[in-house]
Structures are given as structure tokens and as C-alpha cells.
């Protein structure tokens, strides 16, 4: 073993550059930096904390943060306040006032202190009446030094000049390096107001204040508390055993619905929520003039309040954790859920809420740059609980809406018969000659109205039947493609292989044809399923840039086995270029597929060489799609009526295909027309759509 000739002691040392990088790169914004200092006041048991801004609209201004907390002695300053990177979060050790420390690693504090060129700390410890400690950090010294340890920071003790009992800490950040604008001041004010759960009713809770006009206005706004105007109040919680409960109350506080753990946790099959105790309050508002017409508050006032404070804020052990609930932060995906299913879902603009977590076991941990929690399993469990509660509320509200709709239908019916009765009574009062004429006109009107209702009912029924058929067809397509067709395909291949191996000489003569027939039929069967499923693809309902020629080509490709099976030849003559529109693929596909289906049916009655022709022409940003065939043409129906729902000459037809074409084209800002006998003798349909480009 080698013996060392000499041993030198060494340590890792930090360049002063690290101070700059840590402080400035790890903290997201001025308001967050100031909030870090305010949280220190909370940890120091302060009741009041005042933030003063002086000449901040110019470079060189100052910020003062003053509290009446426990203060610090030299030991606290040297071994606590000046130590960076060590989290003081010992959640199981509560402060003197029973608060769970917010826990700062000191990096936010560093960023705040470095906003100016000088930071000054004066602290009056609670237990040393008549004395105070002072520390001045001149950051220029760091800029000129090489290593952090090269700059010494004297902590001086002074005798207090006042006889009054003073305790607490005052931090001044002087000679600010940047200006602070109005928007930032508003953000600081909002951050301070929301920091210590203003929605809670506790009058003794920590209430930091900012000396500014913005703060006063915002404080007045938050104090208005429009919670009583909320139409629904969701109260949900997870207890210490992970069991969840919820209720929905109306604006009077009456319980409308209640949920047990099993109701909320259906998605997770009743499993518990593995998180510390959580309460979730959400007040949702129906922001319309009718709802507010009988209330003392105007809808505008509530809207302004929600604009400033709306969203779901998150409080950990009494202090707010940013960015949850900030403008634009939709951490529970409320706006997405509303967009997906708008009925009876709140958005961040129509609701306000607070998720309060009591985490004494440090199960949650905030990111170093203070941009929220590290998204560990516990955080996901909390989020999942909140979302489950929101889903449950949406289901219950939908139930209420359904009941309302059903009552509305009944009321309309009653109203209609009531109106009829009063009209008949009025007619009775007319003179005999007038009475007869009006009665006749009324009967005529009544019959026309009945016919209209009958037609509408039958149309609705038709749509319902077709939707059911579509859903069933999709299920069958999935099933047959996945199982039966698969088993037949594989077995047929096996039979084919074995016959070739064992009876090779007779294969072509005896087996090839029937095997080919089964194989081709299987292809056709698979196409049936694919065509149905292809129409139902979710992606196709998304508005995007759609190439019309591409849709024409794929629609023909999907239907090719049908054309082959019916001996139909499809001819295309597509204009040069690639005309496109912004639409959903489903819309263009439904136009093309329905027109092709129409021709397939029309050609069923012909014995000639069946042909379909698709032509496109572009003239002045309008694309014409002309679909024609050499079938018998449009017969037995007025050409204007072919577009009407339910109008068809085909006994088994629905009469909806061309209506769908018309509606889809109108939605695209286009128009439809038809010729009973077009260029090829059969029906000709002309679709004109304005395009975006070619």
C-alpha cells in the first residue's frame, strides 16, 4: 500500500457567479420572489406583514417587507437565514402559533434580495427586548469577488432606540436593478391577497398587505365575496383514511345531492385515494342575466370578481401554492372538459374554488423554481380526486338539466293546448259570418301545423334509427373484423397451404376457384367493416386543412369492392392542383360518399356498362364537384324535392343521403344543384364549394 507524502485539506468552493445564477435563474417572477419573503414572515409567526414599494417605476427604487413575527437573533441569521439550499420544512414540527412551516430553500429569498444592489435586514428578536440585529448585503462586493466565501457579512447588534416593545423583521431591498410596472404590481397584490386563503372565514389568519392603490382595489374586490350568488357549491373531501365524500348545495345551502366514496371512486373501482386529507370547495355560477335578474348583485360584478380570482386555487397547510388557479392555469382541465361536454360543466371563468391540503407528513414537495408541486403519485391522487368530484357534479347537474328539459316539453305541450283553447273561445265570440270563415282558416292552419309536426317527428325518428343503426353497425364491424373474419382468413390460408402440399396436382382444377371466391368475399366483408369504422373515426371530425381530391380518391378506394361487385366503373377527371378547404374530413367524406351511394343505387336497375363520373373544376376560388352516372336519371320525383329529408324513390332508402349532402355543403358556404339527366344520361349533381387555395 502506498504511503502519502503529504495530505492537503480542500473543500468545494463556490464562485460568486453561482449566487447570480441560483437567485436569478431559479425564480420565475418578481411577485413569486416577494411572496417567498412573505412566506418567511408566516413561518416566523407574524400576524401582519406589510410590503411597501417606493419609486419602483424607475430604476433605483426600493421594496420594504416588514412583519411583526418572532424576529431573529444573530444565531438565527447566521445559521438559518443566510444558509441557502437547506429546506426548513419540517412539517411535523409546528411553529409557536401551530403553523406548519411553508418551507423555503432560501433560493426564492436570494432572488428577491438580489433585485436591488443592496439588501438590508433588521431584526428585533422576540426574546431580546430592546435590541436588534442588522445585516447589510452589498451585492457589488460579490460582483467584484472571486469566491462566495471571500465576502464577509458582519451581523451587528444594536440597542433599540425606541422604548416601545418591538418585535419582527424588516427587509429592505434597495437600489432596484429594474423598474416594476403596473402589471407586476397587480400580480404582487393578487399574490399577497390569495396567499393566505381569503376564502376561508378565519379572522385570525395571516393577512399580508401591500401599500398600494392596486392592492386596495383588489382587497375590496376580494372582500365582496360573491359566494352566496353561486348556483352550486361543491364540497368534497378525502379523509385521513383516503375515503372521499361530496355534496352539492344550492345557493341557500340546501343539500341537493350527496355522494359516498363508492359514487366518487367508480373510475378507480372503489380504491382509496392515497393522499393526505384534502377538502375541495367549488362555487359555480350560472352567469346570465335571467339568473341574476332577481338578485341584488349584477352579473357583471360577479364576472369581474371571477376574472380576477376565478379558478381553483391550491392551499397547502394554509398557504397558497402557485401557479394553480393563476389566470390561464387550468390544472384540473375544467375548460377542456367543458369544451368536450359543455352542458353543466363549470369553466375557470364561471367558478372559483379552493383545494386545501393538510400535509403534515411532507408527502408533497414544491419544485425548486416554485412553479408548483413535483408531480409525484400523491399529487396525481389529489388531482384525480378533484377531477372525480367534478365529474360526479357534472353528472348530477346533467340529471337536473334532463328533468328540466322533460318538464319544459310537458309545459310546452300544456301551453300549446291552453293557447288553442283560448283561441277557440275568442272565435266563439265572433259574428256568425266571421266565425265560420275564421274557423275554416283555423282548421286549415291546424292541419298544416299537425303535418309539419308529424314530418319533424318522423325526421327525428329517422335520425335516431339511423344513429342506432350506425352504432350497432360499428359494434358488429369491430366484432366481425376482430374475430370471425380473422378466424376464417387464417383457416382458409391453412386449408390452401395443406391442399397445395398434399393434393398439388388436383389443386388448380378442384380447389383454386372456390378458395379464391372465399378469399375475395372475405375482402369484401372486411371492406364493409372498414368503411363503417372509417366513417366513425374521431380524427375525421376535427376541422383541418382538407384536400378534396384526396378525400375523393380515398372514398372511391374504400368503396372499390362495392363497385367491383356491382360491375361499376368509376372514372375521375380531377382538375390540376390540390384544391383545399378548412373543414372536417367527415364533412367532405359525407358529401362524396353519399353521392357515390346514390349512384350505386341508381345503377342497380340498369343492365348497361355501369359507370360513374367524377369531375372537378376550379373557377375563381370555387371548386365544382360534378358527380354523374349513366343510370336512368332522376324520375318520379320533382327535382327540387330530392334534397328534402325522407324524399326518395327507393323503397328501402332513407331519403336522407342527399339532405346530408345539401346540409354539409351549406355549412361549407357552398351550394348544390342537380340535373335529372346530365352529360352521361343519368343523374348529375353539381356541388360548388368556396376553396382556400389550390
Amino acid at each position: 500500500m502506498a504511503i502519502a507524502l503529504q495530505t492537503l485539506e480542500a473543500q468545494i468552493r463556490f464562485s460568486t457567479q453561482i449566487i447570480k445564477r441560483l437567485g436569478e435563474e431559479l425564480n420565475p417572477s418578481i411577485d413569486q420572489s416577494i411572496l417567498e419573503l412573505v412566506k418567511n414572515s408566516y413561518d416566523a409567526n407574524a400576524s401582519n406583514c406589510i410590503v411597501e414599494l417606493d419609486s419602483i417605476t424607475e430604476i433605483g427604487g426600493s421594496i420594504k417587507i416588514k412583519d411583526d413575527g418572532d424576529g431573529m437573533d444573530s444565531d438565527n441569521i447566521i445559521n438559518g437565514w443566510l444558509v441557502l439550499g437547506e429546506s426548513s420544512k419540517k412539517a411535523n414540527i409546528k411553529t409557536r402559533l401551530g403553523r406548519i412551516p411553508s418551507g423555503s430553500k432560501g433560493l426564492g429569498r436570494l432572488a428577491a434580495l438580489r433585485m436591488g444592489t443592496v439588501a438590508k435586514l433588521q431584526s428585533y428578536p422576540k426574546d431580546e427586548t430592546g435590541t436588534y440585529y442588522e445585516l447589510i448585503i452589498d451585492w457589488n462586493k460579490y460582483d467584484n469577488a472571486k469566491l462566495v466565501e471571500d465576502v464577509s457579512l458582519p451581523v451587528k447588534k444594536f440597542k433599540s432606540t425606541t422604548d416601545k416593545y418591538v418585535q419582527g423583521t424588516c427587509i429592505s431591498i434597495e437600489n432596484l436593478r429594474n423598474k416594476i410596472g403596473d402589471r407586476e404590481v397587480t400580480r404582487i397584490a393578487r399574490g399577497l391577497i390569495l396567499l393566505s386563503d381569503p376564502f376561508d372565514d378565519d379572522p385570525y389568519s395571516f393577512r399580508p398587505r401591500l401599500i398600494s392603490e392596486e392592492f386596495k382595489e383588489m382587497e375590496q374586490l376580494v372582500a365582496r365575496r360573491y359566494f352566496d350568488d353561486a348556483d352550486y357549491h361543491l364540497v368534497a373531501n378525502v379523509d385521513k383514511n383516503g375515503m372521499a365524500y361530496a355534496s352539492i348545495n344550492d345557493y341557500k345551502g340546501n343539500v341537493l345531492f350527496q355522494a359516498k366514496h363508492s359514487d366518487l371512486s367508480k373510475k378507480r373501482k372503489g380504491n382509496i385515494y392515497e393522499c393526505p386529507p384534502v377538502t375541495f370547495d367549488l362555487w359555480t355560477f350560472l352567469l346570465n342575466e335571467i339568473t341574476f335578474s332577481t338578485r341584488p348583485t349584477s352579473v357583471g360584478e360577479v364576472r369581474a370578481w371571477l376574472k380576477e380570482f376565478g379558478g381553483v386555487h391550491l392551499y397547502e397547510n394554509g398557504l397558497r401554492v402557485s401557479p394553480y388557479g393563476n389566470p390561464g392555469n387550468d390544472w384540473l382541465d375544467m375548460n377542456l372538459s367543458r369544451a368536450k361536454s359543455p352542458e353543466e360543466r363549470p369553466s375557470t371563468n364561471t367558478s372559483i374554488g379552493a383545494v386545501r391540503i393538510k400535509d403534515s407528513g411532507s408527502l408533497l414537495s414544491q419544485k425548486t423554481d416554485r412553479s408548483g408541486f413535483i408531480e409525484n403519485d400523491v399529487f396525481h391522487e389529489i388531482k384525480s380526486f378533484c377531477k372525480d368530484a367534478l365529474d360526479w357534479m357534472a353528472r348530477r347537474r346533467l340529471e337536473v338539466a334532463e328533468k328540466k328539459r322533460s318538464a319544459e316539453r310537458q309545459r310546452s305541450k300544456d301551453e300549446s293546448s291552453g293557447t288553442k283553447e283560448s283561441l277557440e273561445n275568442e272565435i266563439k265570440l265572433l259574428s256568425a259570418s266571421r266565425k265560420s270563415k275564421v274557423q275554416k282558416a283555423f282548421v286549415k292552419y291546424e292541419n298544416a301545423r299537425k303535418n309539419e309536426i308529424k314530418a319533424l317527428k318522423s325526421e327525428i325518428q329517422l335520425y335516431r334509427t339511423l344513429s342506432t343503426a350506425g352504432i350497432t353497425a360499428a359494434t358488429f364491424s369491430h366484432e366481425s373484423r376482430g374475430n370471425s373474419i380473422k378466424a376464417i382468413t387464417v383457416s382458409l390460408k391453412t386449408i390452401d397451404k395443406r391442399i397445395k402440399e398434399h393434393i398439388r396436382l388436383k389443386y388448380d382444377e378442384l380447389f383454386k376457384r372456390p378458395i379464391d371466391i372465399i378469399s375475395n368475399s372475405l375482402d369484401s366483408l372486411a371492406v364493409l367493416g372498414n368503411a363503417t369504422l372509417s366513417l366513425l373515426q374521431r380524427e375525421k371530425r376535427r376541422p383541418i386543412k382538407v384536400s378534396i381530391h384526396k378525400i375523393i380518391e380515398t372514398s372511391i378506394e374504400i368503396l372499390l369492392p362495392f363497385f367491383d361487385g356491382r360491375d361499376i366503373k368509376v372514372n375521375t377527371d380531377l382538375t390540376n392542383g390540390n384544391p383545399f378547404v378548412r373543414a372536417s374530413e367527415a364533412a367532405i367524406e359525407s358529401i362524396v360518399t353519399n353521392l357515390l351511394n346514390n349512384s350505386i343505387v341508381a345503377l342497380e336497375d340498369t343492365t348497361i356498362d355501369r359507370q360513374i363520373f367524377i369531375k372537378t373544376i376550379v373557377e375563381e376560388s370555387v371548386l365544382s364537384i360534378i358527380v354523374s352516372d349513366n343510370g336512368p336519371g332522376i324520375k318520379g320525383i320533382n327535382i327540387r324535392d330530392i334534397w328534402l329529408p325522407g324524399e326518395t324513390t327507393n323503397q328501402n332508402g332513407t331519403g336522407l343521403g342527399l339532405t346530408i349532402v345539401r346540409d354539409a355543403v351549406l355549412d361549407l358556404g357552398g351550394k348544390v344543384s342537380a340535373n335529372a339527366n346530365g352529360a352521361f344520361g343519368g343523374a348529375e349533381f353539381i356541388i360548388e364549394i368556396p376553396i382556400l387555395g389550390i
Binding site: A339, S484, A487, R538
Partner: protein, 217 residues
């Protein structure tokens, strides 16, 4: 009989499919082949089933849709990926639609080959197992290799995000279910955000595209 594929002896093929006829048809296809097919019955605990694998089979051929009929507690893509983790060569044989593609893509890094049932034959299974065993050894084909790739979020709709991968297809947006994304990415996604993702941009078909790790700036 057994077959030596990439120095791994494979004899018993476990056939997993929720349709009995489909299972039987696969077994028939292997009659008189180098493999011995084993038709798999209902499974309640996949972990336990795979733990005992070495006693009963050497490789797995699985359909994707297994949950519907309560045949397996998870679908085939996940079963195949679990096999991959345990170094059991396996092939997914399925015809899937877009909705299923999204589910399968989540496990695609551990599904070296997906076959269409119409491709099902002894020689294609041998070739597929060969590819799978190579990937288990860390040898990836060029179309399966991941590259650090710049993407842009084109839009966010409901539970899906649409991304553009300019180096693969600069025009078409690729749909990804939000739950496919790592949790830390899910919380920061926004339209027009650009980020780097590991993607096998050497593949030609959108159905073969899969994503590795996502980078947070």
C-alpha cells in the same frame, strides 16, 4: 421439434386470443410445423401467468383486444410489452383502428412487430420472432431506432394533443392521447410549444411511430 432463432431455441408458442375459433385457427396453422402451439385459456393474473412461462411456452403470439370478453385483465399490447420486459419473444397479431393505435403506441417501444392476421404464417412468425429477439439483444432496425427530434404542438382538443414532427411529416398532425404523455409533460403542454422528443423517425407508416422520452426545457 424446435427452431433455433438467433441462437434462441423456440418450440412452444403460446397463442393468446379472446376468440376461441381464432385461437383454434392459429393452432391449426401450426399443425405439422416446427412449433408446438399452446392455446391459452382465460388468465386472471398476468404477472403470475408470465412467471410460470418457462414451464409452458417459449414465445407468445397475442391478439390485442383481450379485455372485452373478460379473457385477460389487460389488452395484448400491454401483455406483449410485459413479455418484452421478461425477455420472452412475442408478436402482436391484430388489426387495429385509430382509437386502438393510440393505446398500442403507448407500449410500442416494447412491441417490435405487429402483424396483420392475414400475414399470419409460419415463415412470417419466424421472421417476426427473429426481429423481436434482436431487439431484446439491443439490435434495432433503422425504422425502430429512436432519434432526438424537434416537435411542435399544433392543437389541443379534448383528451388529445396534435403534434407536428417536421422531420417526419411537416404537414400532417399526429394525434396523441394525453394520457400517453408523461405526467410532467401533460402539465406544461400548450399550443405552439416546441420540445424535443425521442421518435423513431426512420419508420414509414404512422402506425409504427412511437415516442421515447420527452425533454422539458
Amino acid at each position: 421439434m424446435a427452431r433455433l432463432i438467433e441462437n434462441v431455441e423456440i418450440e412452444r408458442l403460446c397463442i393468446i386470443d379472446d376468440d376461441e375459433s381464432a385461437r383454434a385457427s392459429y393452432v391449426e396453422e401450426f399443425y405439422d410445423s416446427v412449433f408446438t402451439p399452446v392455446s391459452q385459456g382465460k388468465v386472471k393474473d398476468v404477472e403470475q401467468f408470465l412467471r410460470k412461462s418457462s414451464d409452458t411456452f417459449d414465445a407468445v403470439i397475442s391478439d390485442h383486444q383481450l379485455k372485452k370478453k373478460n379473457y385477460f385483465p389487460i389488452n395484448g399490447a400491454q401483455v406483449v410489452s410485459m413479455c418484452f420486459d421478461r425477455h420472452i419473444p412475442s408478436v402482436l397479431v391484430t388489426k387495429y383502428d385509430q382509437a386502438q393505435m393510440s393505446e398500442i403506441r403507448r407500449f410500442r417501444s416494447k412491441i417490435p412487430v405487429i402483424l396483420n392476421p392475414s400475414q399470419f404464417a409460419e415463415d412470417t412468425i419466424i421472421r417476426s420472432l427473429e426481429i423481436c429477439i434482436k431487439e431484446l439483444k439491443g439490435e434495432f432496425r433503422s425504422d425502430r431506432k429512436l432519434w432526438r427530434t424537434l416537435i411542435r404542438i399544433d392543437s389541443i382538443e379534448g383528451n388529445h394533443i396534435y403534434i407536428i414532427v417536421p422531420s417526419w411529416d411537416s404537414k400532417g398532425a399526429i394525434s396523441i392521447a394525453k394520457e400517453e404523455l408523461p405526467a410532467e409533460i401533460r402539465s406544461i403542454i400548450e399550443v405552439d410549444k416546441r420540445m424535443h422528443v425521442q421518435i423513431n423517425i426512420g419508420c414509414e407508416n404512422i402506425n409504427d411511430l412511437y415516442f421515447g422520452s420527452w425533454e422539458i426545457k
